[in-house]
């Protein structure tokens, strides 16, 4: 009996722990649209992950960042008016599996990015930088604009991207490689220079209430994907994908 009570208490405690909330400002994030917050954001994610999980909240303002990595059980909430702004310098993106990534998760579980905020990839400025590097021969010739991903997940399960607006990426907005249980819901996508959702060998993909204002291809499927469910996913011309 005792053991059940203590197990119950432990479960309650762990639920409580996993639901901890942290504001970005606690870690020194600045919403001035200038300061690059990557050190603070990555430290916050690592810190929250060590604590067993929780949510990192961004409130109104522009938060510039370089590429960072998500960890299991760490959720990001972009409140209304909050914009995560990707750096316009390609070297600021994390290179993972040959891609240049802004937000990534590799081998993680239970990842969420939600809210009413925006992720802005600054595609025009980023493309300019890439072009100038290529002209000077400073970037390997293998590099192509389509190697950029705003969100990149590999071998990760239980991913939810909800509510936000995703704009101005190069390459791919959302890349999933060998992932399971993916939920994309209520996203507004406005990224003319990128594909919106790219699936490779992933399963249990639930796309609902997505609006593709502008994009190259809304959904790209490579390899073998299974259980890809689409509900109310509309292009700007009213067609369903």
């Amino acid at each position: 009996m005792k053991i059940y009570i203590s197990a119950f208490v432990f479960i309650l405690w762990s639920i409580q722990v996993s639901a901890q909330d942290f504001n970005a400002s606690l870690f020194g994030c600045k919403s001035d649209g200038v300061t690059n917050n990557v050190g603070s954001i990555q430290y916050a994610i690592d810190y929250i992950a060590k604590k067993g999980g929780g949510t990192l909240h961004f409130y109104v303002g522009r938060y510039v960042t370089s590429g960072f990595s998500l960890k299991s059980n760490v959720h990001i909430e972009l409140h209304e008016g909050a914009v995560l702004v990707g750096s316009s310098n390609i070297y600021d993106y994390q290179q993972i599996d040959g891609r240049y990534t802004l937000i990534s998760g590799v081998g993680q579980q239970n990842i969420q990015i939600k809210g009413l905020g925006v992720i802005d990839g600054q595609s025009k400025a980023l493309a300019l930088h890439v072009r100038s590097l290529k002209e000077k021969g400073l970037l390997s010739s293998e590099f192509a604009m389509d190697k950029v991903s705003q969100l990149y997940f590999s071998k990760t399960s239980n991913i939810a991207i909800e509510g936000i607006m995703q704009i101005n990426s190069l390459g791919a907005l959302n890349s999933f490689v060998d992932c399971q249980s993916i939920k994309l819901r209520k996203l507004e996508i406005n990224s003319p220079q990128s594909n919106a959702v790219v699936l490779l060998n992933s399963s249990q993909v639930n796309l609902s209430d997505l609006f593709f204002k502008s994009t190259k291809q809304a959904l790209v499927q490579e390899g073998t994907n299974s259980n890809v469910l689409k509900t109310n996913c509309l292009l700007a011309n009213g067609k369903s994908i």
Binding site: G28, N36, N37, G39, Y91
Partner: protein
Amino acid sequence: MNLLRTLFLLFLSFVYGAVSAQDYKVSDFGINGDGRVLNTRSIQAAIDFLTNKGGGTLVFTPGNYVTGSIYLKSNVTLHLEEGAHLLGSNNPFDYVKDSVVNWQSMIFAIRQENIGIVGKGTINGRGFQTAVNAVENVHKGIVQDELKLDRLREWNRPENIYFRECKNVLIKDITLRDPASWNQTYDQCDGLHVEGIYVDSKSYWNNDGIDVVDCKNVVIKNSFFDVADDAICFKSHDPNGVCENVLVENCTARSSASALKFGTVSRGGFRNFVVRNLVVYDTYRSAITFAAVDGGFVENILVDGVRSINTGNVIFLRIGDRWSKGRKPSMKNVTIKNVYAEVPLNKPDLGYNYEGPIEDMPRNISPASIIGLPEYKIENVNLENIEFVYPGGGNPLFAHRGLDAQSLEGIPEMPAAYPEFSQFKELPAWGLYIRHAKDINLKNIKFTIQKEDYRPAIVADDLQGGNWQFKAFLNDQALEKSYHIHNSTNVNVK
């Protein structure tokens, strides 16, 4: 055959090096000098690009380049043009604590060779604000640190430069300012050449000027240091390590600790040093401190030409027994000559940022001192052509140390204490105090006080051997027999 192969490889590397050593401007890589963009990753990408090409120079044109931790790599030189400022980010989370050295820094190099930082530009850690931000992070509970003395430990605050196990390092002409910890550490490097640098760093606690740890073949010349903590500091962290074959030439140092220092960490040793033309001013502690307190040795040291003005203590040679772990500390064959030194009555670093702490009071002005331990004597020290000018005025009502056997032997040995010229509080001489030593020779030494002092110029206790030729004056008036020798043998006074 082997020789041929070596020659061929040498030839190859020469040709390759000549071809590939190319200059690139930071702007080529999109590194931004607007003082706001964080350039950590793009600077790193540029360095990686250059080292992969076989080497080259990354030129920072005038501008303000903000960065966190970067790693310099083989055959790459950072050239900071005049007006180029490499600025440390104020966000403590932009810095890496390197896993090899277990320390934070802006510029790291670990096991690299042929690297350099040159040019008339500046590296400014902007460390005060970074350190303050780091303290806040501890108070907020998101960073762990014991906050000893209300500051993060030295290794949890970024230095400007930390190079470890590197070969052929060139640091030339640059200005270094205001890190949150020490300025620059060179640890277990072979072939370190530092020339013409300007270090101005009084921004936060532990701002050392330069720390050279267990390095071989070192030149530090024509450089200027104005710093809060030790200015030119040699350390030995490794019991099997040693600082050796070192030339320090034409340097000027101002410190709120010591100007030229061996230690405090002194596990391995220090040998074959030549120090020439050292100018020290407004320095709170010692112009010269050699400490062997952790089982290490100090030997074959020549200091030739020192001008020490408004500096609290001239010479402090000390054997202690702090972290020796059974190894026997030693100090021998030290020559210090051609020195002119003025010791002030007042605090020499008054008004500088991060002044040295007033401690070990009450004491009258402390003498130069050579202090071993009963079982570990300091051996064969030659002082030659030295003029010491002291304020005098030692008042026995304020602090008193008599010359009787009980008073002299009552001076504590303090083997495990942090070595500092002031640690024994009041000492019984105003000019020079010697204890537990062998063969201490004085040649053409002049001691002057400007006001009467209740103590004699020199006191020796447990000294075995020495030829002394010195004169002591109260202003112009000769002081006859101004010395006291206790429990000693074979000391000849002329």
